[in-house]
Amino acid sequence: MIKSNSFTVEINGQTYSADAGETVYEVAQRNGVEIPTLCHDPRLDPAGACRVCLVEVEGQRRLQPGCAWKVDADMKIQTESDRISRHRQVLYSMYMSDHRTDEEGGLPEETGNVNQLRELCATIDPIPLEKVEAPRAARPGDDNPYIEFDPELCILCARCTRYCDEVEAVNAITLAERGSETTIATAGQRSLIDTSCELCGGCIDTCPTGALIEKKAPKLMPLETKTTRTTCNFCGVGCQMDLHTHNNRLVKITSPAPGETLNDGNLCVKGRFAYDFVHHEDRLTEPLIRREDGQLHPATWDEAIKVASEGMNRVKAKYGSDALGFVSSSRCTIEENYLMQKLSRAAFGTNNIHQCAAT
């Protein structure tokens, strides 16, 4: 029998259309039915490991993970019930007994990443379970400049290791050990620098609890920074990124959420981390003019503009327009390139305008 590809399912008594191959989570999310989850990332194969998204599926004795359970025609699903409420209450309480959240001993150090676990825990009346003190190993000797791992905050959802495998495909990190000792490790617990890691930082972005954070970013609460959506200035892919600024300084770069822009939540090492140049002390901050001593000296804008335009006009007067060359830049904006070619053509009368344009 050939099954139709489109059908309806029932979630909490409401009927929704769905397609074969979709998961309960996907149908619910599309229709605004909230199913909480920690280990789900739309870029990754479902792991069903955090167990947060368990729902009731009619005909199934056990609760099933919404992130992985495929819908079928006329399937009836409950995302809220006493059983699910108890499940969430006990599960989140167990997470709290295994992971640092802000429920005990005052606020933990703010990581600057949204801690989704903490948000979930705030939705329940937790059971005061004693700490389990799981012996998860850290990587104390990891001297990589960007990525920091705090096992106290890690919930082993494996989003980082799955991202490293399935999306970035460099396989630098892995789940290691087992049971309560399970941790995120590198081969031989070496520094990420000495592994196949390409420092893309995607693991930080996908981490739902702030167990992975950016080392060099100041630890600021998310609300303390302003974000500006822009386009990356390195290669020609055109990744969208959010610049986080604080007191007129760029303090962190993150990717828009998966699915929003063409980079689908991803950035590379250059885009995410190589921004120190922006505020570097070597930046040119004053116009410079070469004086009679043959050296470049600071000058005012007025003088620099005047000397420069006189210089170019002198050459034009002496040798003609086509003795001038204008080199524009693929690093600058379209508007600036437009102005540069207009300058060359309209102001100086030559088509000698180009840029490093091999591709």
Binding site: C235, V269, F277, K318, V327, S330, C332, Q341, R345, N351
Partner: protein
């Protein structure tokens, strides 16, 4: 060909493709995020053919790696066309409906049999046949290429060969297929689109076209030159010859990025007036008469156009440092001071509007529209209602019929010989960017790749008595530099590879400035070099090394 040099298809389409033919692109390092789309397609079952002289990461993952000798792309691609045509795998209906010139190509590629191609390219004839069949018989098959194709004296021929393959198989106007040059820089597409090119006004409108010129003369209120200008490669040569006397260089370090830089440096010494507009001092500002301190991407508003013709916003997040200024403001002030009545644009949005009013391809794009469209707008986008164009040529070629181009193989300008027995190719790495003025100011890239290196095959290294990590001198007819030798199976016997990022050890002191006859692009991918040990070694091993190398030299490259 078929319209402008840009990706015919979109980056998000890659994940749905069934076959990727990646040639002359080290995608994982040069375009990591596009590589992620490719990895995703691969995981979903797409097949992968990689043509590259190096065994790059993608090649290791490929169904088929065509490890051709540098500079023999025309042979490889013509032989693939040979197979496709002779095995009747071409799409005659598409060819008849949409193209011209097929017969000439059909005839020409008869000279390029896979068996002959094997001798020239070093790629087994059977692999060439397999690749041709896989490509021709898969509907959603995309070609992805970059500088490995274009940075040759016959770069344009390489591109023609690829276009011929696309046209003869009808892989055009199909989602997840097409011909896709991956752009190396954030706005190289946009710079071209905006007319920063000697032959075109914005939107690829020829400067030699009277109608077009009249339009721009009217808009800009000034008579304009009817002659093609000089491309960058020719400009550099004119500088050395003494016919180019004044330059305004914005945001490019021509001394590090142009080939045969010692000639460029000589030329710059002769230049009577040089303006540099930069964010850092670089090799070129050493020659400048005036330096304008400019702004980086985080300090200004505007738009970039990426590889898939996508116009996206750049937004100001922080102020430029000290007295540095946004580049567009500097250009306005300079133009006005120079005697041209450049308008006082209040913001880059107004500049874009002027360009859009003169450029049909982007007429429908504006800063206001981009506020709504967080995924950007892809040109052609001809009016304010137009949704943009993710896939080009869905309804056939943009103008008239697409042209096949019959191409003959021409060897690279400089081949190895007894004096310079090795072929040097240059390129990018993941961790650095161009002249690395930005990336070397960050700890990660600096730790991963602190200094310049060459990749060399174990056999060549052994013949030269070189150990892994040893500093060696690399010498071409144009210059010499020092770098660490990394012994790796990634490169072919007889070939070495070097990144272009290191100012103190500039690869472009070695490279050949022979340019492509159409684009002027320098031959960064092939030049002849030799390697000398700096650390002393026994004379015996050098002598025997020369002996052992001799047979390779006789092979066609």
């Amino acid at each position: 060909m078929f319209g402008a040099g840009a990706m015919t298809n979109s980056i998000p389409e890659i994940r749905d493709t069934d076959l990727m033919f990646v040639i002359g692109s080290n995608t994982t390092e040069a375009h990591p995020i596009i590589a992620m789309e490719m990895k995703r397609a691969r995981q979903a079952g797409a097949r992968l053919i990689v043509a590259d002289p190096r065994k790059i990461w993608m090649a290791e993952q490929a169904d088929l790696h065509l490890q051709l000798r540098p500079g023999t792309d025309v042979w490889l691609l013509s032989a693939m066309a040979h197979v496709i045509i002779n095995e009747n795998l071409h799409d005659q209906a598409f060819i008849d409906a949409n193209t011209e010139g097929f017969e000439a190509v059909k005839e020409r590629v008869q000279q390029y049999s896979p068996d002959e191609a094997e001798k020239i390219t070093g790629v087994p004839a059977e692999d060439i046949r397999t690749a041709a069949r896989m490509y021709a018989t898969t509907r959603k098959a995309g070609i992805y290429y970059t500088l490995g194709i274009t940075e040759h004296t016959h770069g344009t021929d390489n591109v023609y060969c690829l276009a011929n393959l696309v046209l003869m198989t009808g892989h055009l106007g199909v989602r997840s297929a097409g011909m896709n040059p991956l752009r190396g820089q954030n706005n190289v597409q946009g710079a071209n689109d905006a007319g920063a090119t000697p032959m075109y006004y914005p939107g690829y409108q020829p400067v030699t076209d009277d109608e077009v010129r009249k339009k721009f003369e009217a808009a800009w209120n000034v008579p304009l030159s009817p002659d093609d200008g000089l491309n960058l490669n020719v400009m550099m040569k004119c500088l050395a010859k003494g016919t180019l006397k004044g330059m305004y260089v914005m945001g490019e370090d021509i001394v590090i990025s142009e080939p045969n830089v010692s000639q460029v440096e000589l030329g710059l010494n002769e230049c009577e007036f040089l303006i540099c507009q930069e964010i850092f001092h670089n090799e070129t500002t050493r020659f400048a008469d005036v330096v304008f301190p400019a702004s980086c991407f985080a300090e200004k508003d505007g738009v970039f156009a990426n590889s898939d013709r996508r116009v996206q916003r750049v937004r100001k997040a922080v102020d430029p440092p000290g007295n540095a200024k946004e580049d567009w403001k500097i250009l306005i002030e300079f133009a006005q001071a120079s005697g041209y009545d450049m308008p006082d644009y209040a913001n880059p949005g107004e500049i874009f509007d002027e360009m859009a009013s003169l450029t049909p391809k982007v007429a429908g794009i504006s800063h206001q529209r981009l506020e709504e469209r967080i995924e950007g707008l892809q040109w052609p986008c001809t009016d304010s209602e137009h949704p943009g164009t993710p896939t080009l040529h869905v309804d056939g070629p943009l103008i008239g019929k697409a042209q096949f181009q019959a191409v003959d193989y021409r060897p690279s300008a400089e081949l190895p010989d007894d004096d310079f027995p090795l072929v040097l190719s240059t390129g990018r790495t993941l961790y650095h960017y161009n002249s690395a003025t930005q990336t070397r100011r960050d700890p990660g890239p600096s730790i991963k790749q602190r200094q310049n290196f060459i990749e060399i095959n174990r056999k060549n290294a052994k013949m030269l008595g070189i150990e892994h990590g040893e500093t060696v001198r690399i010498i071409s007819r144009r210059g010499a530099i020092e770098a660490e030798a990394w012994i790796t199976p990634r490169v072919r016997f007889g070939c070495i590879w070097m990144p272009m990022h290191f100012a103190e050890s500039r690869a472009n002191l070695l490279t050949n400035d022979a340019g492509d006859s159409v684009t002027g692009t320098g031959e960064y991918k092939v030049c002849a070099v030799k390697i000398e040990k700096i650390k002393p070694t026994s004379p015996v091993s050098i002598a025997s090394a020369v002996d052992q190398l001799a047979p390779v030299l006789n092979k066609p490259m």
